[in-house]
Symmetry: C2
Subunit: 339 residues, 2 copies
């Protein structure tokens, strides 16, 4: 059972994978799979359904059986979960310290049966299915009252932490509200207390108005490079209509989110070919889903720079790419894609 | 002039290097220098003093001139500073956002005239000189009332953000108290309010008492793997005697700190050969140097794991190495070194 341990100074929780019991020699770079046998070995490819734990959800062709070919999006439990779904939290003290069992859910959303697809190249309708799968899993997992937060995230490229190249994202449900979620919620609350407006709604108005950092605007979503971006080409995707809960997304909004997400990633990839990146959805905590001061959004974080001692020691980031310039490069990349 | 921009939600400051004006194509891996001409090209090597900005401080042989050979530790301004020393802050609003000029100091502490030395291999007396240089620079820079915090840090190895392999550390003085410093200060204050004791003093007592995570103990310092380590083989070095200000270190403590730091790094390097790492000194903010609730310390952060979307999106870390196991490996490495 993994453990959740709390730093006694900052209160930050850490997941300690007690049972994996690594040795120092385990920390070396994994070799890349040879590209000729990559699909042969890949557990996420169509036809290899028996190499993963049984599926939790799949959008399949009518008449096909679970855990067989015929799906286009497939959700499975992570074979090496960071948190485990069975058991109770058992919060307890160890000397002066605090800990609990590492209870949670860790799932993999396999985005396509085809190894060489990507969010950038899939048909828009298929991207919509992936976004529906995100929503369906949130709605199901929030019934479990042990969970306080759900984060959906994607690691693309080895430098961004991806260990398998087959297109997939992940979901982790946690029994604590994570540090960064707490910080956003508290900050948004402070702004709301003072202004009686949602800080994200205000940002949307400002970015759509002055356009300097704007990357994409469609009927339902805006994409911009945030004023205080921590890394080059960071982008935030926000629904224009105020909503704090991703799973509350309306049927009519999904095609526009698919468009905004796919175009953002295409522009990024055009501006910086093969860039590794992460993205994740920030949404309201499960015990308080409808908040006037919070606004769900997707953050795209390209992984072009190294974090060094200064960043680790201070939490201050040095971004060598002014956000206005980044937005300019991205818009230009978008224009070239449309040619 | 770099800019300091504030995230309107979380309040986190970011340094935007406006004038470096990178292009997307600038983000590629730098090539390693060939080892046969490495010292030829290195601006930090003895004899190349004219390739750096003029020195701020150097411990030299009697009779040698500034900016010539004859030094063993040399401090220079960073040629590409993250923050600039000239000017005023000019705090201002931009639409709904907040920013100020990127004022600060950014210095490089060249730890040895010899390219192939390291903190692990230098004579202990030389390590002491480096620790004295850290202190001297803190005492000088804190006279500048624009600065609120000083962080001293080291990047060792390319994966830890080092761009030059010549042994060196860095110092950045910032006009804001960085996010992580604020969090530690606030957390330590909360503990003090409740217990009327320093949380770090309590940790020292616990770790020295139960020994499971203890790595080194000498007359003046302890080194342990923290209970809620965020990465494998993380280590904290703390003075046994309560003190919140690194620059307040006593002459009699320096040899013991040199011993604790060098032995920690040797044990780490024995356990995981050539591991890239960062370390940094966490000390009190400049406007409030003597705090009953805060305790200066050094954090050593080996860079063996990738941070991925989950960590970036939540601030929750997954550590695959239980701290007790890490301490065991480190102690064993220490025993082998003594053979």
């Amino acid at each position: 059972m993994p453990e959740l341990r709390k730093d006694p100074v900052t209160g930050r929780w850490v997941i300690i994978a007690v049972e994996r019991a690594m040795r120092p020699s385990d920390f070396k770079e994994e070799e890349e799979l040879e590209s000729n046998d990559v699909t042969e070995k890949c557990p996420f490819c169509e036809g290899h359904e028996d190499r993963t734990p049984p599926e939790i959800l799949a959008y399949r062709k009518p008449g096909t059986q679970p855990n067989t070919p015929g799906w286009n999006v497939r959700v499975i439990p992570n074979k090496f979960p960071a948190l485990r779904v069975e058991g109770d939290l058992n919060r307890r003290g160890v000397g002066m310290y605090d800990m609990m069992n590492g209870i949670g859910a860790h799932e993999v959303i396999i985005e396509s049966p085809n190894h060489f697809d990507s969010l950038e190249t899939l048909p828009l309708k298929h991207v919509e299915d992936i976004l529906w799968a995100f929503r369906d899993r949130c709605l199901d997992l929030r019934k479990d009252i042990r969970f306080r937060y759900i984060i959906i995230f994607k690691n693309k490229g080895k430098k961004a932490g991806a260990s398998l190249s087959h297109p997939h994202s992940q979901l982790i449900a946690t029994p604590v509200i994570p540090k960064l979620a707490k910080e956003e919620l508290a900050g948004a609350q402070r702004y709301y207390d003072y202004k009686e407006r949602c800080v994200y709604c205000d940002m949307i108005a400002q970015e759509v108005g002055d356009k300097k950092r704007l990357v994409i605007e469609n009927e339902e979503f805006v994409v911009f490079v945030p004023f205080a971006s921590i890394v080059p080409f960071e982008m935030w995707i926000l629904p224009k209509q105020h909503s704090s809960d991703y799973a509350d997304i309306k049927r009519g909004q999904i095609p526009y989110l698919a468009d905004a997400l796919q175009r953002s990633l295409r522009m990024l990839n055009k501006a910086v070919p093969n860039v590794p990146y992460n993205f994740y959805i920030h949404s309201a905590p499960l015990n308080n889903l409808h908040l006037p001061h919070y606004h769900w959004h997707i953050e795209i974080v390209p992984r072009l720079t190294h974090t060094a001692g200064f960043e680790w020691g201070t939490g201050l980031y040095i971004n060598p790419m002014p956000p206005e310039r980044a937005a300019e490069f991205l818009r230009k990349a978008g224009e070239e894609l449309e040619k």
